[in-house]
């Protein structure tokens, strides 16, 4: 199984842990990931809030490189995934956008590169059976709240990922790893995304509600698949404690980190030391179950 792989800018900075654990898990499961040479930023929220053509042309710069490689493009960051999907949709359905993107990038591109989230590859191509067979450890009944956030599942007609109101992709992986996937109401609530710096007050309110709900549902940790969700839910717990006096102490792990642990991969290859809220309890539980 060979794919083009778009790490996204945060993979080189605040989400090195997501990137490292993705590479480790992919290698362990026989998934070959090749970065398109010279990949560039998808533009993120700042791009689409600024200009429609910029928002389509920036992802197109990388999509063109993936088209040349002739492979499906795998993205693990939910936000990049969303921007790539939206750009493809806009270019494929709107002639004017396609022409403007061609003008901006210097290359005509038809929006045809298949963009897939890593979760889709794990569930559809690798498959639950193969993953289960490769496991060396277990979550041993640990209660995990799967958090999908916004950009994986919305808008449904563009991302086509799972169910927009009650997705279960992460839950299926948690169950396969021997965990208890919690039924809880905040799976697709918003963490505040890109407003983390500009409107920290808004983000603190939103993340407090999400982490608090996970705690109320009995979660021992939260599983995510987006660097914005991860840093907001993890790091902002320090602000929640400071401003609101509530100490949630809720570890927020990437699904690839949980999977890596259960695959028996060394913790240092999974970037676990980068989490702000210590995942020691989670690591200990998996190691004890092995």
């Amino acid at each position: 199984m060979k794919y083009s792989y778009f790490p996204g800018c945060s993979a080189e900075s605040t989400a090195r842990d997501m990137h490292e654990s993705t590479l480790a898990v992919a290698a362990a499961l026989g998934v070959e990931l090749v970065e398109p040479h010279g990949w560039t930023c998808c533009g993120a929220t700042a791009g689409h809030q600024t200009d429609r053509v910029l928002a389509a042309a920036l992802p197109a710069a990388t999509l063109i490189k993936a088209a040349d490689a002739g492979l499906d493009l795998i993205v693990n960051c939910a936000a990049c995934y969303n921007r790539m999907k939206v750009a493809n949709h806009e270019i494929a359905t709107n002639q004017q956008v396609r022409a403007e993107v061609a003008e901006a990038t210097g290359r005509d591109y038809d929006g045809s590169v298949k963009v897939r989230h890593l979760l889709e590859v794990l569930l559809e191509d690798v498959g639950i059976d193969a993953i289960t067979a490769a496991l060396r450890g277990s979550l041993a009944g640990m209660k995990v709240a799967s958090y999908y956030g916004c950009l994986l599942v919305r808008p449904k007609e563009v991302t086509g990922f799972d169910d927009p109101e009650n997705p279960t992709s992460l839950d299926r992986l948690i169950t396969a790893m021997g965990g208890t996937a919690l039924d809880w109401p905040h799976k697709v609530e918003c963490c505040g995304g890109g407003l983390s710096m500009s409107r920290t007050d808004v983000v603190v309110n939103l993340t407090d509600s999400i982490v608090g709900m996970a705690k109320a549902a009995g979660a021992e940790c939260i599983a995510v698949s987006c660097p914005m969700c991860q840093i907001n839910l993890d790091m902002r717990q320090l602000d929640i404690a400071r401003i609101k006096g509530t100490r949630h102490e809720m570890p927020v792990l990437y699904i690839t980190q949980l999977l890596g642990l259960c695959l028996g991969l060394p913790a240092q290859n999974l970037g676990l030391n980068k989490l702000m809220i210590s995942p020691a309890r989670v690591v200990k539980a998996v190691v004890n179950a092995a």
Binding site: C41, V53, L54, C150
Partner: protein, 206 residues
Amino acid sequence: MVRVRLCLLNIELSELDMTITISKNKSARSIAQRVREITGVDLSVCYQCRKCTSGCPVSAMAKCPPSEMMRRLHLDMGEELLDSDILWMCVSCETCSTRCPMGIDVAAVMDALRKIAMERGAVKGEGNVPLFNKAFLKTVEVFGRTYDLAMIAAYKLGSRKLMADTEKFPTMLTKRKIALLPPTGADRKMVRRIFKKTKENKAADK
């Protein structure tokens, strides 16, 4: 009918002030018209069911929730529409677009309104999101990828939020949670070309 519903919801009539005061458009190209041009959205199909507002994560914190924004557009409100706080509080989560029974891409309408607000120099709201976006995109234009440290520095200086989050920096540095050096390896040439063309389009638009 209205009275029955209000009793059920236990709302005092005085609390339920649904009056919207608008001033008419002064410019030749109305804001609603411009939104239609940018997005291709048919604003007239909105029937004010308020599903967008019910699902909006920031509607409880905003003075003007998304459904009211849609109504203001219906009524062809003038420039002060661009001062609505929701514009820069909106987190682009797309819940409104996903849940709209008429399939209106409300999130795209918000993007269009932000673009118009920037063009017409409207107020930037608390937190100065346009400055954040500018700082973010500037690093992309220069390096081809985001460079967090430069972006954070530019935003902090511009917004005078110098002390915010500084207490987390030592931990982030020890954990190497943030890159110190600028990114390398991106196809900067293509990215610069994209920014150049976008700026040319913007100039032509005016």
